[in-house]
Structures are given as structure tokens and as C-alpha cells.
């Protein structure tokens, strides 16, 4: 600390603004050859945020992995104050386990942050998958865990803005149904492109979304600014086709 700095420090940091992002990575067996590209992309995301002090001060990132089960590999943190763990390949592709764990973690984080007096923006969840769900009830689980029905007041009121990214075998019709809520969620699909290029393009979109959103926080009108894919990236983007009536 600069000796000449005039500080009034009382050990309480209530009122700090926090913009939470959750990165949920598919580490199923089919990702075996892509883990290096995935880990490099996540590390690149970390470096990009740390280079922007204004973004680093407000954005907090949680990294989760899922296969047969889901887990937190890096709790919600300021990127400059943590190191990114290396993701390792595991088993199948169970979407439901990811949705359930994400809902639990978001609720826990929200309660924890609010208890400490933070002001929290609605979180954004980036869901990366290379495969189709192996669990038949993924859509029902998604609706029951990560969505909210305003008319009946049921579901997850603190739901995230859910942004799915798919490549390789991830079906586009599934991605369309996972983008949530209908008026804000977007989906992204890497078609006809190499996996390494797809992962690089997807993580660039996530990086630019975090940076531009972080740069809008703290100025009165924070906005989740979902970035468009780069020209020539082979990635397409679309609006949510989440079915509100699905049960």
C-alpha cells in the first residue's frame, strides 16, 4: 500500500457489488483429447479478467465440472486471488447432475454473499458440453431446478441466466431449449469446425461476455452483454426456445 494513501479501513466491506459467473464444463470421456485445449482456454479467460482491474473487482467466477456427477472445482472467487485448477476427464454426460449441483451452489453462494452484505447481480451460467445428454429426464430436471414460474411463484427465483454452448455431438435442439430465460438467454453451437477451434471460439465468447458485462457494472445500468461469435469461427448463436409450458 502506498504510504501516502489516506485510508479509513474498518474491516467491513459490505455494499460491494458482485457479478457472479458460473462456468460448467463437460469432462465426459469424449473430451479426453480436448482437455488441454479446455484448460488452456480457461487459463486464458483468467488472464483476460486479471488484466482488467475494473472487471476483476466486480466479476467472480466459479468453475464446475460434470460427467456422471457434478462438482465445484473452483469456488466463486475473484480471479486475481486464485489459481485455476486443471480439469481432468471423467465419465458420462449426465446433464441433470450438473443442473442440480449448479442450482445448489448458486443458492449457497447467494445466501453467503448476502449475509456478508454484498450487492449481487443475477448470475450467469455458461454450460459447455460436447455431447447429448445420457439422462432421459434432463429437461424436467432443468425446469424444476433452474427456472422460475412468475405466475405461480414456483421454481428457482434466483435462477441464473443460462447460456449453453455446444460442440461435437451436442444437439442444437437441446441447446435451444436450455437457453434461459426466454427473453435473455442465448445458445451457441459450433458447427463444422475442429474441436480445438470450437473450444477457442467458445471461450473467447465467454471471455468477451464477462469482460463487457463487468465493464458495465458499477455504472448504474449493469447488463449481461452476450457477445456474438467471431466471423469465421464456425459458431452460430440463437435466441432461447425454452418451452415455458414444458412439464
Amino acid at each position: 500500500m502506498n504510504d501516502e494513501r489516506i485510508s479509513e479501513r474498518r474491516g467491513v466491506e459490505a455494499g460491494q457489488l458482485v457479478m457472479p459467473f458460473y462456468l460448467i464444463c463437460d469432462v465426459s470421456g469424449s473430451m479426453y483429447d480436448d482437455m488441454a485445449a479446455l484448460n488452456e482456454g480457461v487459463e486464458r479467460l483468467r488472464r483476460a479478467i486479471v488484466r482488467q482491474p475494473v472487471v476483476d473487482d466486480v466479476a467472480q467466477i466459479c468453475i464446475m465440472s460434470f460427467s456422471d456427477t457434478a462438482k465445484v472445482v473452483m469456488p466463486l472467487s475473484q480471479m486475481s486471488e486464485t489459481s485455476v485448477p486443471t480439469l481432468a476427464v471423467e465419465g458420462g454426460t449426465n446433464y441433470s447432475s450438473a443442473f442440480q449441483e449448479l442450482a445448489r451452489v448458486i443458492e449457497d453462494d447467494r445466501e453467503d454473499l448476502k449475509r456478508q452484505g454484498y450487492k449481487i447481480y443475477r448470475p450467469c451460467a455458461f454450460f459447455l458440453t460436447d455431447g447429448q445428454p445420457l439422462d432421459n429426464h434432463w429437461q424436467r430436471t432443468f425446469t424444476s431446478t433452474l427456472t422460475y414460474d412468475k405466475t405461480t411463484g414456483t421454481g428457482m427465483k434466483s435462477h441464473p441466466i443460462f447460456v449453453p454452448f455446444g460442440f461435437r455431438d451436442a444437439p442444437e435442439d437441446v441447446l435451444r431449449k436450455l437457453a434461459y430465460p426466454r427473453d435473455r438467454g442465448k445458445w451457441y453451437h459450433a458447427r463444422n469446425t475442429g474441436i480445438e477451434q470450437a473450444l477457442a471460439g467458445i471461450l473467447d465468447i465467454i471471455m468477451n461476455t464477462v469482460i463487457s458485462s463487468g465493464l458495465s457494472a458499477g455504472a448504474g445500468q449493469p447488463t449481461l452483454i452476450q457477445q456474438s461469435p467471431a466471423a469465421g469461427s464456425g459458431i452460430v448463436q440463437g435466441d432461447s426456445e425454452y418451452d415455458d409450458d414444458y412439464i
Binding site: R5, E8, L17, K157, S158, A219, G220
Partner: protein, 301 residues
């Protein structure tokens, strides 16, 4: 970007901090000159009126500095001299341009100056606001239709809070009017902060959100109230400083300590720019204290 260390002379943040200054408050370089040539990062003024001492400052927040965008806040101060035997009144206006619209800095300057001019001429706020709302609407022109990006680039809007006040031996007596979330606060002699205007937020139980109704409005209407408060000092603010004041005990305590009496105008500006993690919006505040030494030194009353 080259690595910037704490204490680096390229950093232009205030030397004052309350709590954790954040990385932006210690590392963000000043960056290139502002995109609005001639607009300074910080403007401040001082004034003395019979029974009153005034300090005013507006500054570009660290976020606009990081984004290489102009300051969108503005203030204007003036004096209203009514009939010869009635006390002069301080007029203070604070405006906070809407960040998503590219020309909101122009709206903030226009509205603050025109409201202060009308206040100085004795116009009542409920008459002044619709008049200035109409002027702003005419100045802004019609946004281009069908091109949201261009409409945002050329659009303008601003909040406004306007105060006219005089001091008696015992209390402050005045009128305040506002559109949007800029606000008027009273700092009591006991160190307690009280919002005189409404400070409602768009938060629900779960998450923080913001929504303001800025000028130009459809009908030019404003919220208005008369007030009388005892002793202490008055502060007209944009939300860049009102939000940390509302949310943070240590900000309330520290600002109450710093501003118990009027600091010199240079110190006041630096204090209002205190660094605090994640609070990086533009800030504007006009402080009005009782003149406890004389009757407004140098003022002919």
C-alpha cells in the same frame, strides 16, 4: 497492458480510500485524454453565501476511465436573491447521465445549468422541470428509428435533483425536486445521515437491479417536497456516491467524520473520489454547510 503497481505515477485515482480500494482504485492507469476534448476528469467549485458555505465536485468514475468514455455527471450551483429583505438562497443541481446513451453527458450539462438558471431567477421547481424537460427533448431530437445501436449512440437522458435552500439561525428551509435516483441527504450534528428525497431501489429479495426514470420524461413532471431540517449540513448527490453511502456503514461513518465541517475545496474533491472496491461510477456531490464563522465572507448579502 503493462503491469501497473500500487503507487505508480500513471495511476490517477484519489489518494483517499474507504475500506478496500480494489485493484481499480490502486492500479488503473489514467489512460488517454478524454474523448470529449475540453471536458476535464474533475470539476469543482466553492462558494460562500450569507450563512452558508458551499463545496461542489463532479468527477469521472474509474469505470468510464477504463472504458475511455466521458464523465456523464454534472452539477451547477447558483444564488437566488429574492426581495431585498429576504435571505439569499443557495441553488444546487446534480445530474447523472444515463450510461447506456452516448450523449448523456450533454444532457447532464444542459439540464443542470438550465435548472440552476431557472432556480436563480426564482422559478418554482414544479414549473422549472417541465420547461427544462421540453428544452432537453428539443435538444435531443428524435432518435433514429429501427436502428437500436445508432439510437443508443445518439441518445441522451439524465436524472436530476435540484435544491433551493436558505439558512436560519436554527434550521435549513428549502425546496427539493427530482427525477430519477439522484438525491438530497442531511448530515446531522450527531453524525447521522438521513435521505430527504426517496432512495428507492429496484432490488428484489434475491438480486440487485437498477431502474430509473430519467429526463426527458413524457410529461415533464418531477417529485417535489418542501423541507425543514435542523443544524448539520446538506448534500446533493448522484448515485455514484449515494449508493456506497446507503449500503456501507464505514462509508457513512467516514464521510460524516470528513465532512463534519467544510473541508477546503481541493480536499473535498479528493475525498469525494475515495476509492472503494467495485464502486467505480461517476460521482457528484454538492455540500452546503452553515457558515459558523461569519455571514458569508465577501458576499454583499
Amino acid at each position: 497492458m503493462t503491469s501497473i503497481q500500487v503507487g505508480d505515477p500513471r495511476v490517477a485515482a484519489s489518494p483517499f480510500a474507504i475500506g478496500d480500494p480494489g485493484r481499480a482504485g490502486t492500479e488503473l492507469p489514467a489512460g488517454p485524454p478524454g474523448v470529449r476534448i475540453g471536458q476535464s476528469d474533475v470539476e469543482f467549485s466553492a462558494a460562500s453565501l450569507p450563512g452558508m458555505v458551499v463545496r461542489a465536485v463532479t468527477m469521472r468514475g474509474l469505470l468510464h476511465r477504463a472504458n475511455e468514455q466521458p464523465r456523464q455527471d454534472a452539477f451547477a450551483i447558483a444564488r437566488h436573491r429574492p426581495a431585498p429583505d429576504t435571505p439569499a438562497r443557495a441553488v444546487a443541481v446534480v445530474c447523472d447521465g444515463v450510461g447506456s446513451l452516448g450523449r448523456s453527458d450533454e444532457a447532464a450539462v444542459l439540464v443542470s445549468r438550465r435548472l440552476a438558471e431557472l432556480g436563480a431567477s426564482g422559478a418554482a421547481w414544479p414549473d422549472a422541470f417541465p420547461a427544462v424537460n421540453g428544452e432537453l427533448r428539443a435538444f435531443a431530437g428524435e432518435p433514429p428509428r429501427g436502428d437500436a445501436r445508432e439510437a443508443a449512440r445518439l441518445g441522451m437522458a439524465t436524472t436530476a435533483v435540484a435544491v433551493a435552500v436558505h439558512r436560519t439561525a436554527e434550521e435549513w428551509i428549502g425546496e427539493v425536486a427530482w427525477v430519477g435516483d439522484s438525491s438530497l441527504w442531511h448530515l446531522g450534528d450527531d453524525g447521522r445521515w438521513t435521505a430527504i428525497t426517496g432512495t428507492a431501489e429496484g432490488d428484489d429479495d434475491d438480486f440487485h437491479s437498477t431502474a430509473v426514470r430519467p429526463m426527458p420524461t413524457a410529461d415533464g413532471a418531477c417529485a417535489f417536497q418542501n423541507f425543514r431540517v435542523p443544524a448539520g449540513a446538506l448534500f446533493v448527490m448522484s448515485d455514484g456516491i449515494a449508493n456506497p453511502l446507503k449500503w456501507c456503514d464505514d462509508v457513512r461513518t467516514t464521510l460524516a467524520h470528513w465532512w463534519e465541517r467544510p473541508p477546503d475545496p481541493f480536499t473535498f474533491a479528493a475525498q469525494a473520489a475515495f476509492a472503494r472496491k467495485s464502486h467505480v461510477d461517476d460521482r457528484t456531490v454538492v455540500g452546503i454547510w452553515p457558515d459558523e464563522v461569519g455571514t458569508g465572507a465577501g458576499d454583499p448579502a
